[in-house]
């Protein structure tokens, strides 16, 4: 309603009709902001990016059954037993870690794609450096001060944050669940997203309890400031309003505070379903830097790494279930990434050291199941120097999501990713 009023008064000239945010409007051709927004996609599509911090061991996540002998040989102390590997419909040569049954199911239901061996030329083995490369989209020998998603949003929503929020984009461009806005969302001058510092304070904000004097005077002051801070956030009200609309969510989320990713995705789904037009959500989980004891010695299908994969799989599955329940599943695509994969050969302490390429998962109802690329080749007698060869540049994944999902014109991709990348067959053609 409000939006209509805005257009009625602010944009009197009828020049060209366009659909924007679901409302038929008559756009004023001379308004550069609107002009640019018209180039933004209008279909409410959302991208959810899940960061797996620490460097996920891809080889024990997506297992090359095809080269099982060499695989087993390279990492006998942590290799998954052949009979426990989860099979994927139509792909006998590749399987999933036994802890990932929910993702196996998504794959078999045509909602999960696996991109094999993703990395970039001259890869870095440093967590910090590699993370920066993935978030900025920079070359290995280059330093960029903006994030890849920040550049995308800056293109679509020019001049942010001046004149934002506005009637056309009343919501945050991007939301990061975390204390600080990720480098990935950094724009040329400002972060293009907002951070919701932690789920707890977020839920407090939703509850709208009347302010009461706190137990101690110091606590009272801090609570007061916190409350003003929440109230003052330009987006506080729209977020609250969106969240309040959703009172029922999937029961598959782990509500025991044992799965932080599940907590984060639950908020994301709630905000999408509540009607936020936010384009990108970033969430993260840590715990993938497993240099030692990544599996139980007795049963390699259990242990630290398996627990992480299980949390990841369950969180994504609950999220997908919830999106369907909220009837927004056709609007959401998610991807996972980790700053690097791990070495082919395991080390003596039952872990793996920093490596190069690793698989990326892309999930969602609009996603075409399939394995993009081939199983990584594993030498018969792998040494500590052997790494998984890159098959896909990570920016090809980004380019695909920008182009085929977020509807960025192919000719604009180099603006965001510095050069062209061929699209991968990840998104179902409508």
């Amino acid at each position: 309603m409000k939006r209509r009023t805005f257009f009625k008064y602010a944009l009197p000239s009828v020049v060209m009709p366009a659909l924007l945010g679901g409302f038929k409007i008559n756009a004023f051709a001379g308004n550069p902001l609107l002009q640019n927004l018209l180039h933004a996609d209008t279909n409410g599509r959302v991208l959810v990016v899940i960061q797996l911090a620490g460097g996920n061991d891809g080889l024990n996540t997506v297992i090359p059954i095809e080269f099982y002998g060499a695989y087993k040989n390279a990492r006998s102390n942590i290799a998954i037993a052949l009979e426990k590997i989860l099979s994927l419909n139509g792909c006998n040569a590749t399987g999933l870690n036994p802890a990932m049954a929910p993702l196996q199911q998504l794959f078999n239901q045509d909602r999960l794609a696996i991109v094999q061996a993703v990395s970039y030329p001259q890869p870095s083995f440093s967590h910090f450096r590699a993370t920066d490369i993935w978030l900025t989209g920079e070359e290995s020998n280059q330093v960029l001060n903006t994030g890849w998603m920040g550049r995308y949003l800056n293109r679509q929503y020019p001049d942010f944050p001046d004149h934002y929020p506005n009637s056309i984009m009343p919501d945050p461009l991007a939301i990061q669940i975390g204390s600080v806005v990720s480098t990935g969302l950094q724009g040329p001058a400002f972060p293009m997203g907002m951070a919701i510092s932690n789920p707890d304070s977020f839920y407090n904000m939703l509850n709208e309890k009347p302010r009461q004097l706190s137990a101690s005077p110091a606590q009272d002051q801090l609570d007061y400031i916190r409350q003003v801070a929440e109230k003052t956030d330009a987006y506080g009200d729209v977020i609250k309003a969106a969240a309040k609309k959703i009172t029922r969510q999937s029961t598959k989320y782990d509500d025991n505070k044992k799965n932080p990713l599940s907590d984060q995705l639950k908020i994301v789904s709630r905000l999408i379903a509540g009607g936020l037009q936010t384009k990108i959500y970033m969430v993260s989980m840590g715990g993938f830097d497993n240099h030692a004891k990544q599996t139980d010695a007795a049963d390699t299908s259990k242990g630290t790494h398996a627990n992480q994969l299980q949390k990841l799989s369950e969180a994504i599955a609950a999220f997908m279930d919830d999106l369907a329940l909220q009837q927004v599943a056709d609007r959401v695509v998610g991807m996972t990434f980790s700053e690097f994969g791990r070495r082919i050969k395991s080390n003596a302490s039952g872990g793996t050291d920093h490596g190069i390429a690793a698989p990326v998962f892309v999930f969602g109802q609009p996603v075409r199941s399939g394995i993009i690329g081939s199983n990584p080749t594993i030498p018969e007698n792998a040494t500590v120097n052997d790494n998984i060869t890159m098959q896909h540049d990570f920016r090809a994944v980004y380019a695909t999501l920008l182009e085929d999902w977020l509807a960025v014109k192919p000719s604009n991709i180099p603006d965001i990713l510095q050069k062209d990348f061929a699209s991968l067959p990840l998104i179902k053609k409508v």
């Binding site: 960061q51 911090a53 620490g54 440093s126 967590h127 910090f128 450096r129 993370t131 920066d132 330093v143 975390g178 204390s179 600080v180 480098t183 001058a189 932690n198 004097l213 706190s214 101690s216 005077p217 110091a218 009272d220 002051q221 801090l222 007061y224 400031i225 916190r226 003003v228 801070a229 109230k231 003052t232 993260s284 989980m285 840590g286 715990g287 830097d289 240099h291 700053e339």
Partner: protein, 562 residues
Amino acid sequence: MKVSYSMERKDFFKILLSKQDTKPGASPTTALTSTLKRYKGKWDEQAVVYFLKHTMFGAKPADVAFFKKKNLKNTVAVMLKDAAMPTTSPINNYASDKIEDEQVQLGSTWVNATNVNGKINYRRRNSYKQWWMGLMINQDRSITEKMVLFWHNHFATETNIAENPVYCYRYNLLLRQHALGNFKALAKAMTTDLCMLRYLNGYANTKKAPDENYGRELQELFTVGKGPGSHYTEADVKAAARVLTGYKIDNKIFTYSFEPNRHDESDKQFSAFYGNTIIKGRAGEDGAYELDDLIEMIFATDETARFICRKLYRFFVFYTIDDATEQEIIIPLSKILRKKNFEIKPVLQALLNSQHFFDMAFRGTTIKSPADFCVGLMREFNVALLPPGDMFAEYSMWEFVHNQASAMQQNIGDPPNVAGWPAYYQQPQYCKLWINSDTLPRRNQLTDRLLSYGFTAKNGSKINIDPIAYAMALPHPEDPDALISDSIQMLYTVPIADAEKSHIKSNILLSNLQGEAANHYWTNAWHTLIEKPDDAVNKKEVLNKLKNLYKYLLNRPEYQVY
């Protein structure tokens, strides 16, 4: 001075007064667990930081280190030493093609100039405020600057009403001269201060047409106050105004005079609150001595000493004064004040050395004033480092800080009215009044800005926070846990939970890596920074992480309080 202006202000103030603190408030109170007995607790970093954030603008790491080596008693002694008067005075930093000052050259001080006009006065007042801001930022290890602000808020004047920048400057010197001196002497001197005479119409108070403005505020705001024990009457206001008749300002030579023919020579009868005192009317030049009689009478009440002690208490300790605090703290302090004939130092000495001052219940209960926030930020992060000698660059930086504090609702030199800033007196909110939906984002934007693109001073120097330099001065910047804990120790007076610290660590410093082993990724990056300072990529990693860390810490509510 336009009389109508002050009438308006007065009306506004009446409204405020109805809400002003007259009795122990409904605000949260603490059971009194401490007295004015000497503090015997630890003199550790936490205590020093707490002490310095109260007595100076911010706790600068170098000052913390300096005072930690002393004990509390010696620290208080250093802080209460008479500070030297400023060695600089405000300069012409405004001359340009558009504005010419025929008496004062660019870069020279204007405080002895006699040429006045609206344009020049406006610019000189700005230069005065910037100069003052510079004194705050470059303060010595002394409580003086905090006390100058205290007295400015107490004997409040506004530069835009006093108008003449020389009067404003001299008013400032008067506050400094008495900052740690004698309250009674200051009250007397303030009565005939040019700035105050003009601000509260003392110069227009004649026997034919008495102007009650100063006579009223002298009692209501400067001395006996409106507390529960204050019972002066409207007749006392009128009588005081008559005592104070006869002063005149010579706006050509910037001086005041007492004109016997404008003075009311009749006797002045005061109420029972003042023991039915009669101030004998005096003729001729002797009429000026009636001021001494008036001051003596007012300072003979218990209430005057109590009133100023309450105000000091609210400024330095906590805004709520309940009955127990009144009995155990305020009244004993007021007795010291009277016993020492209104010398301020012994009161501060007793308060700052007391266990009550260090009572854990008060940690984090004061929301920083904008001056505390802005000046403290500059000092705590050593931001104000400019190549010495470039006065114009320095003034541009002081102007920046002054404007920031103004935008956050504390325009130093121009409080909202004669009562000072409401955050120092208005119950039940008190210092919460500093924080609202407009001012809090400004605080966050300032810290974010100084950690990103900064401020460009007039000579082109970049003014911003160097987080690497800050971390470098901490004992163990290579250890991410110590880096966070030590930073928090320096920046906050309230603790934060260990779980939150580890959340900050993995979220900000460790790119979400978890577990004990992850620490070494930070440690390695830090060591690389030290060993290979030219490794630009590594430096950027470290710098970005530290920027994020300090942005986050300075944005938290804990940095808004002390």
